[in-house]
Structure formats: structure tokens, C-alpha cells
């Protein structure tokens, strides 16, 4: 059984006018089924408005589906009783680092989740220190979050979730507002959590480069799953990706164009390094 099981769900945002009459309906999710295994690193790609955030909020029980069911760790998200268990086992990191840090001191913010869960004081302190060390933010524990860089703030936010000992962490475009260095920091942290702590990671992004290490990529479009597969499989379908207005990594795009013009290269080249090796090999065999 997977940690997250999404069974044919749909979700509609209903806009109402002042009198409460329905003004418009946006079907943000339109029939999605997805099984996420324990310890998996899964990336969700998709353009703006494709329904990524709406899907993420289903997993964290912030929203629950209009049709179909979502199970997190075997628990139904639409059952009120499970809500706190689900939010503890599936933590969420949001996009804007400033708007998700609650405490005025780093360590107090990380302690916020465990405090809400009613963990005894000595264990909170233990969890906070451990989480800050995992995210390599321990030396900043007494600092004010206002003085940290974007990448550091996001790591504090992740530590805040880690301190709740979740089984699964959803990152909803958590790198979107960061500079390239900050983005690298956050992605490295996510990979470390997945490798070392065996936390399931659901990484939502529209930067394709960030998804190359994932076990599986799900591409979303208009509230549906447009493609799924390993990074190599997905990245070899460049034309389809472009049609969904997703920017393909430069080296992948270059390899694709070269192949179209008859250069013999392997499938799904993801990084510059891979491209260079493949090109050398192809040149040697010519």
C-alpha cells in the first residue's frame, strides 16, 4: 500500500456572488489517480493554473475532493477525525518563505508544529535541534528569520515540518521565489531527507532541472495527468512537453535537436555532463 493513494478525484472551486448564487465553476482537478509509494521522490510538473497547488492541498487535507477519495497513510482525508493525523504525516512547505514562518526566532518557529501536536517540552527541544541539524540551520537557531536569505528561510520552513516527524513532505513550488543558490540549497535538502531519512518527497515545480533526480515525474495539464514516467522517459518527449508550455533543460533540448538531425545519442539526456559524454561516445564510434 502506498503512503498517498489518490483515487479518481475531482475538485471544483465555486465562485459565488454576494447573494450566494453560483457565479462560476473552475474544475481545477478533473479525474486524477495517483499512487505514491513510501520513500518515493516524486515530482509534479505543470504550467501555471494546471492544478498543482490544488492537488497538493488535497494531500494535506486543506481541501478535500468533490469526487473520489484521497488516502494518506491509509486514512481518508475527507473524514474530519483524521485531519490532524494527516497533517502530521503529510507536511507541506509553501512558496513564499516569509508567509509561512510564524515564530520571531528560528528555533521557536521550528517548534510551532510540535507545540500544536501537544508534544511534551523536553521532546520538542530535542526534535527542534535534530530538525535544525538535519537542515544544517542549527547555528542560526537564535536568529530572527527576517535576516536570513531566501534559501535559509525555506530550510527553516522545511525544518518546521521535519520536526513534526512526517512520513511525507509536499513542497509546493518552494523554490519559485528563490535565487539559483537558494534553489540548489532547498533541492539538496529535499534529496538528503529522501536519501537519509527515507521521507517521501512530493516536489511541485515548474523548473524541469529540479526534477532530474526524482524516481518519477507526473506532468499535469488542465487538472489531469498528462504524462507520467521516469525522468529519462519524460525528457525524451520534448515535443509534448513544449506543447504543455514547459521549458525543457537546455542540454535536453540540444540533444533532442541533434538527434533529429541524425546525431546518434542515447535517450533522455538530462544534464550538460551527460550530453558531453554521449557526444564523445557518438564521435568515437563514428
Amino acid at each position: 500500500m502506498g503512503i498517498v493513494e489518490i483515487d479518481n478525484i475531482a475538485y471544483e472551486y465555486i465562485r459565488r456572488d454576494e447573494e450566494g448564487n453560483v457565479e462560476g465553476i473552475v474544475r481545477a482537478i478533473d479525474g486524477i489517480s495517483l499512487d505514491i509509494k513510501k520513500g518515493e521522490f516524486i515530482s509534479i510538473l505543470g504550467g501555471n493554473g494546471s492544478g498543482k497547488s490544488t492537488l497538493a492541498k488535497q494531500i494535506n487535507a486543506i481541501l478535500y475532493p468533490c469526487e473520489g477519495t484521497v488516502y494518506v497513510d491509509g486514512k481518508d482525508t475527507s473524514d474530519e477525525e483524521n485531519i490532524w493525523d494527516i497533517r502530521q504525516s503529510a507536511g507541506m512547505v509553501f512558496q513564499n518563505p516569509d508567509n509561512q514562518i510564524i515564530g520571531s526566532v528560528v528555533e521557536e518557529d521550528v517548534g510551532f508544529g510540535p507545540e500544536n501536536m501537544g508534544i511534551p517540552t523536553p521532546e520538542i527541544i530535542e526534535r527542534v535541534n535534530e530538525a535544525l541539524k538535519t537542515l544544517r540551520m542549527y547555528e542560526y537557531r537564535k536568529h530572527s528569520p527576517n535576516r536570513l536569505s531566501g534559501g535559509q528561510k525555506q530550510r527553516v520552513a522545511i525544518a518546521g515540518v521535519v520536526a513534526m516527524h512526517p512520513k511525507c513532505i509536499i513542497m509546493d513550488e518552494s523554490t519559485a521565489m528563490l535565487d539559483p543558490i537558494g534553489r540548489k540549497e532547498v533541492i539538496r535538502a529535499a534529496r538528503a531527507l529522501n536519501d537519509v531519512e527515507k521521507v517521501t518527497i512530493i516536489l511541485i515545480t515548474h523548473y524541469m532541472e529540479e526534477t532530474i533526480y526524482s524516481d518519477r515525474i507526473v506532468v499535469m495539464d488542465k487538472g489531469r495527468v498528462a504524462m507520467t514516467g521516469t525522468p529519462k522517459e519524460i525528457f525524451s518527449r520534448v515535443d509534448e512537453l513544449k506543447k504543455l508550455r514547459l521549458s525543457v533543460p537546455q542540454s535536453t533540448a540540444l540533444a533532442y535537436e541533434l538527434k533529429k538531425r541524425g546525431v546518434r545519442l542515447g535517450e533522455g539526456i538530462l544534464s550538460g555532463k551527460e550530453l558531453v559524454t554521449a557526444l564523445c561516445r557518438s564521435y568515437a564510434t563514428m
Binding site: 507536511g91 509553501f94 516569509d98 508567509n99 509561512q100 521557536e108
Partner: protein, 268 residues
């Protein structure tokens, strides 16, 4: 101008007063303020003065820093004093033209001036020596009994601490929007009051929009981290009284008793 107000500001240093439990300082400040209204003669004011000087010395906050906070309220102080001076009825001391100053007026004016000054110094000493977080924690703990009357104590404290966290962020944002509008030719400085207030609209509207968006995001982030009010919540840093805190309570009670005695047996 905002920078001049020291009330509500924290002065970072290490002193006996800084290390005291915030509940001590809150209760102490309250008792001190009450004592200022009990005291009505020279002897009792002498006791209050001695106590205040002792506390200032203990706090290690430089006098210049405390007085800087007074600057912001000096006008209010002046107005109150002048009102008392000219409008108190009694035996005439001097009179010229239509103005009359009485003995009673002089006395009340002097007492009011001292009382207000002490009140402001006393309460700013509390905020100068207590971090905002500590202060909200203290308030929450002291107000807890009010929960019986359905006062949302935890929520009030949470709101205060969130406000404290977001004040610097919103200040920075105001600055950013201001610069953006200035670069588009906005003029915040010239013209009369009405023109200047109108000029604030392009500053306030984006600021409010952004503040509401932040509030929305933050509420969701809090819920995602299992926040569901104060019920069943534990504390990472609970307030615990230590020996020195009990001593401080004893001292402040002794001070109050002294004031009451001085008021009874003192002169003037």
C-alpha cells in the same frame, strides 16, 4: 519619527531585570502604576523616586536611552501640566490679565508632571528589558484566568506575536512600494494635508492587498502545521519561576506597603 519612540522597544543587554520572568515585570509595572496614584505627598513620592532610580540602575539601560523615549510624549505632558496649572480653582498665587494661577494649581501640576513621567519611564522600562516574545508569553500566562469569562486569551497572545513578527516585513514592504511609486512620479511630500493624504492612497492600497494575501497564506501555513487554537497545545519554552522571581515579587510588594505607609504618616 517612528524610530524615536522607545516605548515598546527592547534594549539588548544582560541585567538582573532582563533575566526576570516577564510575569514579574508585568505585575510589577502594574503595581508601580497603581502606587503612583496612591501616592499624594512628598514622602511617598520620595519612596517612588528611590524605587524607580534603583530599578533603572538594575536594568543597565542608559539614562539617555530612556529619556529619548520621553521626547515623543513631551507635548502631551506639557498640555496636561498647563491645563492643571491654569484651570485648578483655589487660592490665587498670581494673576495677570485673565489668567490666574492658584497654589492648588501649582501643586497638582507638579504632581501630574511627576506622575506621568514616572508612569512612562516605568512602563518603558518593562518593554526595554523584555523581548516582545517574552512579553506576549507573560501576558498570556497572566491573563489565563480570564479564559473563564470566555476571553480568547491564547488567540490574543497569538495575534500579538504574529503582529510583532510581521511589523518589520510590512515596514520593508511599505518602503519598497513607496520607492516604486516615487519612481513613477508620486509625490508624498508637497501640498496641504488633503493633498498629502490623497497621495497616500497609491501606497496604502497595494500595502493592504499584500497584507491580506500574507494573512491568507499564513493562516493556511499554520493550519498545515496542525494549528487548532490553544487547546491541547504545549510550549517549547514554558515560563518557569526561579528563586529570583519570588524575591522580585516580595520586593515589589514591600515597595507598595512602604508607599501606603508613607502616604499615611508622611508630610505635605
Amino acid at each position: 519619527m517612528i524610530r524615536d519612540i522607545t516605548i515598546g522597544q527592547y534594549y539588548q543587554t544582560d541585567s538582573v531585570l532582563h533575566r526576570l520572568d516577564p510575569r514579574d515585570k508585568l505585575a510589577g509595572t502594574l503595581i508601580f502604576i497603581i502606587s503612583l496614584f496612591v501616592a499624594k505627598n512628598v514622602t511617598s513620592y520620595a519612596v517612588a523616586t528611590a524605587f524607580l532610580i534603583a530599578v533603572i540602575l538594575l536594568s543597565k539601560v542608559p539614562m539617555s536611552f530612556i529619556l529619548r523615549g520621553m521626547k515623543a510624549v513631551v507635548i502631551i505632558l506639557l498640555i496636561t501640566v498647563l491645563f492643571n496649572l491654569f484651570l485648578t480653582p483655589g487660592i490665587t498665587f498670581v494673576s495677570f490679565w485673565k489668567i490666574r494661577i492658584t497654589y492648588e494649581g501649582m501643586k497638582t501640576a507638579a504632581y501630574t508632571a511627576v506622575r506621568l513621567t514616572y508612569l512612562i519611564i516605568g512602563s518603558s522600562l518593562m518593554t526595554l528589558t523584555t523581548t516582545p516574545n517574552n512579553l506576549t508569553d507573560g501576558l498570556e500566562s497572566l491573563m489565563k484566568p480570564l479564559g473563564v469569562f470566555r476571553v480568547p486569551v491564547h488567540e490574543i497572545a497569538m495575534m500579538m506575536s504574529i503582529a510583532l513578527r510581521f511589523i518589520p516585513i510590512l515596514m520593508e514592504e511599505t518602503d519598497k512600494i513607496m520607492k516604486a511609486q516615487l519612481s513613477r512620479g508620486a509625490d508624498f511630500e508637497s501640498g496641504g494635508l488633503i493633498k498629502r493624504s490623497k497621495a497616500l492612497i497609491p501606497l496604502l492600497v497595494p500595502l493592504f492587498v499584500s497584507a491580506f494575501r500574507r494573512a491568507n497564506d499564513l493562516a493556511m501555513a499554520m493550519e498545515a502545521r496542525c494549528y487548532h487554537g490553544g487547546k491541547g497545545r504545549t510550549k517549547m519554552k514554558p515560563l518557569v519561576y526561579r528563586g529570583s522571581d519570588y524575591i522580585a515579587y516580595a520586593v515589589i510588594i514591600m515597595y507598595f506597603v512602604l508607599i501606603v505607609i508613607a502616604q499615611r504618616v508622611g508630610m505635605l
